[in-house]
Amino acid sequence: MYSKTVMDHFRNPRNVGVIDDADGVGEVGNPLCGDMMTIYLKIKDEQIEDIKFQTFGCGSAIAVSSMITEIAKGKSLTEAKKITNKDVAVALEGLPKNKLHCSNLGADALQLAIQDYEDRLAGVERPQPIRKEKHEHSHGEKCYCPYCDIEIQSDITFCDACQSSLEEEH
């Protein structure tokens, strides 16, 4: 079900851990699917000097976290801000469609960590890391039924194809 690249990053995740004196921290959690991801950044001269992650989640969530750290490491902040969840999925040679919703949160966590760094520079104090609770659809992103993988409208609550009740899950 997973590509070779996904399994490689899952088995040998890169850049695992915590940066104790991080310059920026971003946390993404999806309470319905249960995946949680935290990204730590060390910034020097507007460049990502070091990046580490921690993840609670399935195989693809771990692989996504590992891949985003590899892509972002050494990049300038300007470049890093352009990284999207789609870039991560492409670099991983694809993810199962239904996992795109739950597990592909790496770029979201990275962007939150960069925002945290910039906020700190601007003097914003936070007791907790900056955090996003729910996966939000970016403009133009397609939506798939989490049960049968068929493409669906983002505002429906019932999948005609597999008759699953969707409520708030997609």
Partner: protein, 392 residues
């Protein structure tokens, strides 16, 4: 490369004796059991022999009470939809529990759109239905109670005998989904007091794609499949004779070897539960300590997610099953685990370890050693474990 199968709930191997009779059946090229010539009668005789073996396993009054189907799912669909259609003039109320299999839940979703009303009973924290609540839920409109014998995710066994007394007393048809129990534990439909019971042959090392429904004589039920008069007019379509022959042999062996199988599975179960606390910490056992299948243990390992555990154990050549939302395809936490009161995060870390008569105590030890390694690796990555460590 030998894989240790601790996922028997998903698939059990065919016993060599079962394989043998099925291969012989293929070579024999049996005719249609419904045909009245010699070849047909020969086929009808082996079909009858298989039916009798299964009837004995369940202690039926007559072999006619067994209807062969394509498996547990069809049996459950037949029981529920067949009773609903045959009894809707009496009422449209059906009682189930919150932890039933999707075959039950989705059959009822279909019936609800036809005007049937369902009461779904909660289970207590140990995962059991309170029989008194069944009694209280029965109304004049109630035509069917369907409560599973054992749960496929937790292994917890329901008080079917007590519920059977209540339904008998109130003259309501009682079905139990015993797909994960028949052939694993001694089963007696007379003692259980059920009118309908669903089972699957693979549970007792017979072929997948074959199962059956016990229908107590006199139970009002319509066929699910209409057509010919096969299976005593209760299930149309030419029989899957090769599969049924395998199921019959498997039933015969299950009855013959029941005591030693149960003893073996209990030994494995005990080994796992005794050694688990010496292997990992911070986990929840979802299986009832007393009323449970001997071959299944459900544990929720905290701070990590089940699909990751399953994939890493797979790399160690150990097959287990997980009930994490991420791995089930439904991407939704299991309704069974949530019914027990588990949090979403804890439900995510749920592993179902199900062993069989082909496992050894060495397999359990190998699994435990691998589990320890995998849990350590994944907790090192987990932000939840880190938070918990810094909080304490």
């Amino acid at each position: 490369m030998k894989v240790i199968n601790l996922d028997h709930i998903s698939a059990k191997p065919l016993l060599p004796e079962v394989k043998k009779v099925m291969i012989e059946a293929i070579e024999k090229d049996y005719h249609n059991p419904s045909s009245q010539h010699k070849s047909g009668e020969e086929a009808a005789a082996v079909l009858q022999k298989a039916r009798e073996a299964v009837a004995q396993l369940l202690n039926c009054k007559t072999a006619k009470e067994i209807v062969f189907t394509s498996g547990g799912t069809e049996s459950v669909n037949h029981a529920i939809k067949g009773v609903a259609m045959a009894n809707e003039d009496k009422g449209k109320h059906i009682i189930i529990s919150n932890i039933e299999h999707n075959a039950v839940i989705r059959s009822l979703r279909r019936l609800k759109s036809a005007g049937f009303v369902v009461t779904s009973l909660a289970v207590d924290a140990s995962g059991r239905v309170n029989p008194q609540e069944v009694a209280d839920a029965i109304t004049k409109e109630t035509i069917l109670v369907s409560i599973m014998h054992s749960n496929n995710e937790t292994g917890t066994i329901q008080p079917i005998e007590e519920i059977g007394k209540i339904t008998r007393d109130k003259k309501v048809i009682f079905h139990t989904d015993a797909v994960d129990s028949v052939g694993v534990l001694p089963m007696d439909v007379q003692k259980l007091g059920v009118d309908l019971l669903s089972f699957a042959a693979n549970t007792f090392y017979g072929p997948s794609g074959v199962g059956g429904l016990y229908i107590r004589r006199g139970t009002r039920i319509f066929p699910l499949l209409d057509g010919g008069v096969q299976e005593n007019n209760k299930r149309a379509g030419a029989e899957n004779l090769i599969g049924i022959i395998g199921a019959g042999k498997a039933a015969e062996l299950a009855l013959r070897d029941m005591d030693q199988r149960v003893a073996h599975l209990q030994r494995l179960n005990k080994r796992l539960l005794t050694e688990l606390p010496n292997t990992i910490d911070e986990y929840i056992i979802n299986t009832h300590p007393e009323y449970s299948l001997p071959n299944l243990v459900s544990i929720s390992v905290q701070y990590i997610e089940g699909e990751s555990v399953m994939l890493m154990l797979d790399d160690e050549n150990i097959a287990v099953s997980t009930r994490s939302a991420c791995a089930t395809g439904s991407l939704r936490a299991s309704h069974v685990l949530l019914s027990l009161g588990l949090s979403h995060a804890d439900a995510q870390g749920t592993l179902v370890i199900s062993f069989g008569i082909d496992n050894t105590e060495q397999d359990i030890d190998t699994f435990l050693a691998a589990l320890k390694k995998v849990v350590t690796t994944l907790r090192d990555i987990s932000p939840l474990y880190q938070k918990k460590a810094s909080a304490s």
